[in-house]
């Protein structure tokens, strides 16, 4: 085996990391320079990864059906924009967004219902754990059977996948307000809903946003994988599974790249909203 590519890769990695270490230590006065650094550092990290990837694939002569170098993937993306866009619409704009909204909503409302009623708390929460791991590959075919081939069955899978993280985090979050704050609301004879909206939900927000963040990527995986089990002939999961069969691994990675980009932007958006809503939380103040 030829060790040189590996050694070169390690050296390159170390150099890039050192550059980043140096960059994050800079604390420029102007806020625009700070913002630039905030983009530059992850970008350098990412570019490093890509260069390493390219180098390893070429250096070790890895078969193109196993791994495609980023440059080839990029060419493929550039030449297949209409296909990628159509797939994105089908999978992300329909299945993911709708499923995410409904799944998170259902998890949240169930948590409130459980919180509201001690009866449900004892009766439903243990059963809620039950749906926590309905495996996607078992559920997806059933959903196709029930809801047909188009996006609603994928949205249903997403709902099931996102439900539990939201439920657990909201239940935990609702217990996060401090005793003295709850006492204060008691002295106002605040109603259940007033206490919920004015105290307990704000205090639960950090937990709820955790779920929203985790779900943002989970929803995407769920929708794509669900498409492996029956679809009309469009969609990111459809494309991935068929192109694997055609040995067009570059197209597979092109779809994955789109998924990664969409997922990261989605996550980033949730994180931005989190920053705005839970600005008061120590984790936001110190960071």
């Amino acid at each position: 085996m030829n060790w040189w590519p590996l050694i070169a890769a390690l050296l390159f990695w170390a150099a890039a990391w050192a550059l980043n270490e140096w960059l994050v230590r800079l604390s420029p006065r102007s806020s625009s320079a700070r913002r630039l650094l905030g983009i530059l550092v992850p970008a350098i990290f990412g570019v490093t990864l890509l260069i390493l990837w390219e180098g390893m694939v070429r250096g070790f002569n890895i078969s193109p059906v196993l791994l495609t170098p980023p440059s080839v993937i990029w060419e493929r993306i550039a030449s297949s924009v209409p296909t990628l866009w159509a797939d994105f619409q089908q999978t992300f704009l329909k299945a993911v967004l709708i499923g995410y909204a409904l799944g998170c909503g259902a998890g949240f409302l169930t948590a409130i219902a459980i919180d509201r009623s001690p009866f449900l708390q004892r009766g439903l929460l243990p059963l809620g754990n039950f749906v926590s791991a309905l495996p996607i590959i078992g559920v997806a075919p059933i959903m196709v059977m029930w809801f047909g081939f188009d996006w609603p069955s994928k949205a249903a899978v997403v709902i099931i996948m996102t439900f539990f993280p939201m439920l657990v985090n909201t239940v935990q979050g609702l217990a996060a307000s401090s005793a003295i704050d709850r006492d204060l609301m008691r002295t106002y004879a605040s109603s259940y809903w007033q206490t919920l909206f004015k105290l307990r939900l704000p205090a639960a927000a950090p937990f709820i946003f955790n779920a929203l963040k985790i779900n943002s990527t989970l929803a995407l995986i769920g929708a794509i994988v669900a498409e492996f089990f029956g679809t009309p002939i469009v969609g990111m999961g459809f494309r991935i599974s068929t192109e694997v069969g055609r040995m067009n691994i570059d197209m597979v990675w092109a779809e994955i790249a789109v998924a990664a980009l969409a997922g990261s932007l989605f996550y980033g958006l949730v994180a931005l909203i989190e920053r705005a809503v839970t600005f008061w939380h120590p984790s936001m103040r110190s960071a």
Binding site: S63, M145, I233, F238, S241, T242, G245, R246, M247, N248
Partner: protein, 305 residues
Amino acid sequence: ADDLTLQLKWVTQAQFAGYYVAKDKGFYEEEGLNVDIKPGGPDVAPVQVLAGGGADVMVDWLPSALAAREKGVPVVNIAQPFARSGLTMVCRKETGITKPEDFKGKTLGTWFFGNEYPLYNWLSKLNLPRDGSAEGVTIQKIGFNVDPLLQKQADCITAMTYNEYWQVIDAGLSQDDIVVFNYTDEGVATLEDGLYALEDKLEDPAFVDKMARFVKASMKGWQWAKENPGDAALIVLDNDATGAQTEKHQKRMMEEIAKLLGDGPALDEASYQQTVDTLLQAGSDPVITKKPEGAFTHAVTDKLK
């Protein structure tokens, strides 16, 4: 003994009975081989396993093998135990379909992973666009079961004569409730289960010899399975780790498979040509774009003569 790993195209079932029988009955051992059989599935691409060094030889369908070849993985057909195709299109009679022309305006469910190309080829022969319009057909990618037909989510679905067809029957539809179109009859058949190895490995005479012994023992296994379908089914069941198969189904499958087997392991060049032609005409987005070169060799089967 020489170690050898065989990667199957699909999960353990009577479709691969010959190999399991050869292993179980000691035919491989007689040839000085120690064979490890790896089951596949929809999420196993045998070509990748072969390219990654996870197997020495694989069972694959010719379209998929040719696609891989064009994409730069030089797989070569070394033997072709299956001479005929078992692929069919099964429709419900109540949809009014009696002949392929009636597909117009209907929904066809097909597997992908390369299985869509013969269908595309067929449809372009029929002059039916695949755009979902009333003048054409709607294509759906279905999972590997017959539910879409039973649930009336599709008017026709692809099915193997040895497996899905019988599932439809078992579900309660009688032969009279369905119409079956055989790909072979429609002239769009492609070669199915063949054995493939990597080109560069075949340059080594020792490897060719090993393959020859392997093919020989496998054919012996197939012969035995053909003669003893019931026992072959049991051997398959023994090797099924999921514990999900039933004897009835596997025995019937073995009987159907027997009908697809050829006389010998050698590839029939006419069938090969037919497959290549079908694929090259598949339509706008063909799986292979040019005539493949050196995609098969008789080197292994010649040694058996």
